[in-house]
Amino acid sequence: MDIADLVPPTRVVMQRALRQPLLHFLLLGGLLYEAMPLLPEMARPEPIEISAPQLAAWQTDWRRQLGRAPDAAEWQAYMQQRVDEEILLREALRRRLDQTDGVTRERLIRNLRFAFPETTDNDSELLAQARLLQMPVRDAVVRRRLVQLMEQRITGQAELTAETLQTYLQRHPQRHLAEGHVSFAQVFFEGRDAEARARVVLNSLPVSDRGAGVGDPFLLGREFTGLSLVQLQQQFGEAFARLAQVAPLGKWQGPVASVYGWHLLRVISRSAASVGAHQQGQSLQMSYAALAEQEQVVLQQALQRLRHRYRVELPAQGLEPVP
């Protein structure tokens, strides 16, 4: 026997193989696997019907909150936000979160026991009734809870990677910047002749003098250490803060006005904002902040996908805001 006879021709092997149920299973599975992401689009989208009264209520909400009608872009975004909320709610219900989440269950059962104090139904029966009554959709607290639970399920998948942290830092360089700061002494003058008195003192004050014993009392004191520019502006005003930024070190300057009166100013030390120094010991801070941003990215990506599962049905004039 020729050894070649023992080896079936390739075509025959193929034919046999193609008849194997296992392969069919695998091929079909592979196809389905590949097609999975496309399935939501292929499936008939579930309708989200928005009634005219619902739209009118949204319009009223908007006007009440902003005191004006939305423009077209704002209205579009506002409607999208409401639709997204509805999508998350439906996804939560699809996963029966209204039956399993503690807060939701408690609220629904309490609602029904309040409405029907004589009921002898157990919790499970009450929850079923709540669904029939569409209570998870209608009760504002339950609705918000379900939407948030769904959001949390999605955002809980966010991952923190080197890339997300880098993106975060580039977006918020100021948040982790070490601030510039100024240390200084000041002498305060109040009353009608405050400015003139300040000038007289300035002319007689030796350069190295610390300014003790001159001027009027000031509640916040005479010497200030390590104030940031923002703190300076908030406490003493723009003019004072500007002078503190440019005044030569160690020399009495001024007078400069604040809301309280007039000041002489002697800058003791000053440092500019330094990039990065702030980041030492801030790793946990940055990680959480970056993660929170990434969660929003993940949520938006998920919503983009989920929107394909739904078809929004609007009344005729729904797309344009009512003036």
Partner: protein, 674 residues
């Protein structure tokens, strides 16, 4: 035998309280090649031993307060803290890509804030107490049910770290070549309370309480700049029959109970304190205080003199209350709780007529006034302080020894947004750029933008600020930022205000706000109070008014046991002629940039208990509602022309102008035991 992971984990958790490590190789944080604890305790650059005032908001709701806002607010704790730090906040609506179409920003950042969402809706407890819940049989839940107080898992400073930190360069980004990040595998940095091994938090589902803690960590500036401090906190939401017994719980550090004790399980404040005491141990780095608010809406409950079971207070109960609650919120969005000014001996204080809500509980004007009534004097702090002196006489301890703070109670995640001139409404969806004629008042007429908490602390760090709260060196403002010092002693010189050392002498010769006067060194000496205030300087175009006057309010129990009060004008000028043009809201007349005085209580009787606090009053200005009514050109003389949405403009029950103000915490005097 191999121990199942969940059992090992359970054992670990159980052992945590005893500091017995589970001896896994615990990774340590590596920064720049040096081993450090991840939480670095530093002294702030602008540390000041004589203390400085820090402005903040300790009552902030975000999206996690589900009941508070069903209008789609999606501002979470992260965004709330960003806003408090002065960053621009994107607010709804958002485009399909999540980009906000509107923004809002504080003209002046805050120094500190605490997000305090309603714990009752977090759902954490339910996870462990509801058998239907999938995590019910998780080891931590078994432990929780078996022994709630042991389930408190704390942050071990020495052991915790960020596991498997890769080092990576960040090209173009500020610094740093040795920036640690949680790894390529996308592990999330564990929360501080995750215990020695930290696994439970890494594996646990994301929850509101976790997110709140993460946000508090993310925006707490632990560098020497000390720009901003956060506190982990929550609101305990007890309100039987809508009568408000709410408390904000503020934790000193990141070490907090795993599950915040809530009203469902702890149905009275005394049970709350017990639960917190059991779950929050000082030795483990956890400490807390509770801050009641809106006593004005408690329908007589907040300062009842009986406990939950209707029994008279015991000394022990009074002590527990005083130790747990050094502060109360005297003002916020839903009205002031200082004084009603209508009843009691000597209760004639026209300045009590300031942001008073016209009902006495949270029902408000819903249901046509059923289930509520007019406000009650006993629900206001001045009355409670007097009642506290009275109780102290019989119990030996004052249960109502409250210092004061203000806060906003914002329900849109915007801490410190408390100005009259840009009030978006606390239940609304955010500050509108009112670029067209408004269609109505931005909130119901009786509420207001809320107030601020001010703490005198050495530096802007949690420890320092928390200590200020504990010793009540705190004051409240109605939203503006005047600076107020208040000291009590016996031998302050009459000309102390002329001294450059006012503050040092204030401390050295007496006690600051929140303190207790010691007994007179020499018989016959009378207490003196040194009070000094600087006006709110304003900034970035915020309109502020100069000061009008300082008052000292004294409450005492007289020889016959009767509660008394008296208001003294001690500095400034009540008749300085400052006015407001109600057609334009323009202010006229002068005031004071600063005021200072030393006042002696000539009527002091060393045998009578007393308290003293200062009220610093600014010149009048338009109330938020008046500003909106003027902008909308509402004419109340022609009622037919007033749109329904502006009807509040013509409601004579509410003043057109207000006087912004600060309330210092009291200084108490207790006669020596006879």
């Amino acid at each position: 035998m191999r121990v199942p992971v969940h059992v090992a984990r359970l054992i670990c958790i159980a052992l945590v309280a005893g500091l017995v490590g589970c001896n896994r190789s615990e990774p340590e944080l590596v920064l720049g090649g040096q081993t450090q604890a991840p939480i670095v305790t530093k002294q702030c650059r602008n540390h000041n031993v004589l203390r400085q005032p820090f402005f903040g908001d300790l009552h902030v709701h975000t999206k996690y307060s589900l009941d508070a806002n069903t209008q789609g607010t999606i501002v979470g704790p992260h965004e709330a803290y960003q806003f408090a730090r002065g960053e621009r906040l994107g607010i709804q609506p958002y485009t399909a890509d999540g980009v906000a179409l509107r923004t809002t920003q504080l003209a002046r950042p805050l120094d500190f804030a605490a997000v305090t969402d309603h714990a009752e809706l977090f759902g954490e407890t339910e996870i462990c107490t509801n058998p239907d819940y999938v995590e019910y049989n998780a080891p931590e839940c078994q432990l929780y049910r078996a022994s709630p107080e042991q389930s408190f898992v704390f942050f071990n400073l020495m052991a915790v770290g960020l596991p498997e930190l890769p080092q990576f360069p960040v090209p173009g980004a500020p610094v740093v070549s040795d920036l640690p990040v949680i790894g390529d595998n996308g592990q999330i940095p564990r929360l501080p309370y995750c215990g020695v091994n930290g696994e439970r938090c890494i594996t646990a589902a994301k929850t509101p309480w976790q997110d709140i803690q993460r946000a508090a960590e993310a925006y707490y500036d632990r560098s020497a700049d000390c720009r901003f401090t956060t506190f982990v906190g929550y609101e305990y939401t007890a309100a039987p029959l809508s009568n408000n017994l709410h408390r904000n719980v503020i934790f000193r550090s990141e070490v907090v109970p795993e599950i915040p004790p809530a009203f469902q399980e702890y149905s009275a404040p005394e049970y709350l304190w017990k639960a917190l005491t059991a779950q929050c141990h000082e030795a483990e780095g956890c400490s807390y205080l509770t801050i009641p608010h809106n006593s004005n809406l408690s329908a007589g409950l907040m300062f009842e003199t009986k406990d939950k079971r209707g029994n008279d207070y015991t000394t022990e109960f009074a002590r527990t209350r005083q130790e747990n609650e050094p502060l109360a919120e005297i003002t916020q969005h839903k009205g002031q709780s200082e004084c009603l000014g209508t009843t009691g001996v000597g209760a004639q204080d026209e300045l009590c007529n300031f942001e008073i809500l016209p009902y006495n509980n949270l029902t408000g004007d819903r249901f046509g006034g059923l289930n509520t009534g007019p406000p009650k004097e006993q629900d206001f702090l001045r009355s409670a302080l007097k009642q506290g002196l009275k109780l102290e006489q019989s119990l030996g301890v004052n249960p109502f020894k409250y210092g004061f703070i203000g806060s906003s109670d914002t329900h849109i995640g915007t801490p410190g947004n408390v100005l009259e001139n840009n009030f978006p409404g606390h239940g609304g969806a955010g500050m509108g750029s009112r670029d067209a004629v408004p269609v109505g008042l931005s909130d119901v007429i009786e509420v207001n933008p809320g107030g601020l908490a001010v703490l005198w602390a050495e530096e802007n760090r949690r420890d320092s600020l928390f200590a200020a709260m504990r010793r009540r060196e705190a004051y409240a403002t109605s939203g503006t930022r005047p600076i107020v010092r208040f000291f009590g002693g016996y031998d302050y010189p009459a000309d102390l205000c002329g001294s450059q050392d006012f503050v040092r002498i204030g401390y050295d010769h007496g006690v600051p706000m929140g303190g207790d006067l010691v007994k007179p060194g020499t018989p016959g000496m009378k207490p003196r109070f040194a009070v000094s205030a600087l006006r709110d300087p304003g900034a970035n175009g915020e309109p502020t008014q100069p000061l009008q006057r300082i008052q000292i309010i004294k409450g005492w129990i007289d020889a016959s046991g009767t509660q008394q009060e008296k208001v003294y004008d001690v500095a400034g000028d009540a008749n300085n002629g400052a006015t407001v043009d109600l057609n334009t809201c323009e202010t006229r007349g002068s005031g004071f940039a600063s005021l200072c005085t030393v006042w002696e209580d000539a009527a002091f009787d060393p045998s009578q208990s007393a308290f003293y606090y200062a009220r610093v009053v600014e010149n009048p200005s338009c109330r938020w509602s008046t500003q909106q009514c003027v902008a909308a050109k509402v004419d109340c003389s022609q009622p037919d022309t007033v749109p329904e949405a502006f009807a509040g403009c013509c409601d004579a029950r509410f003043p057109k102008t207000i006087q912004e103000r600060a309330w210092t915490s009291p200084i108490w005097y207790r006669p020596p035991a006879s």
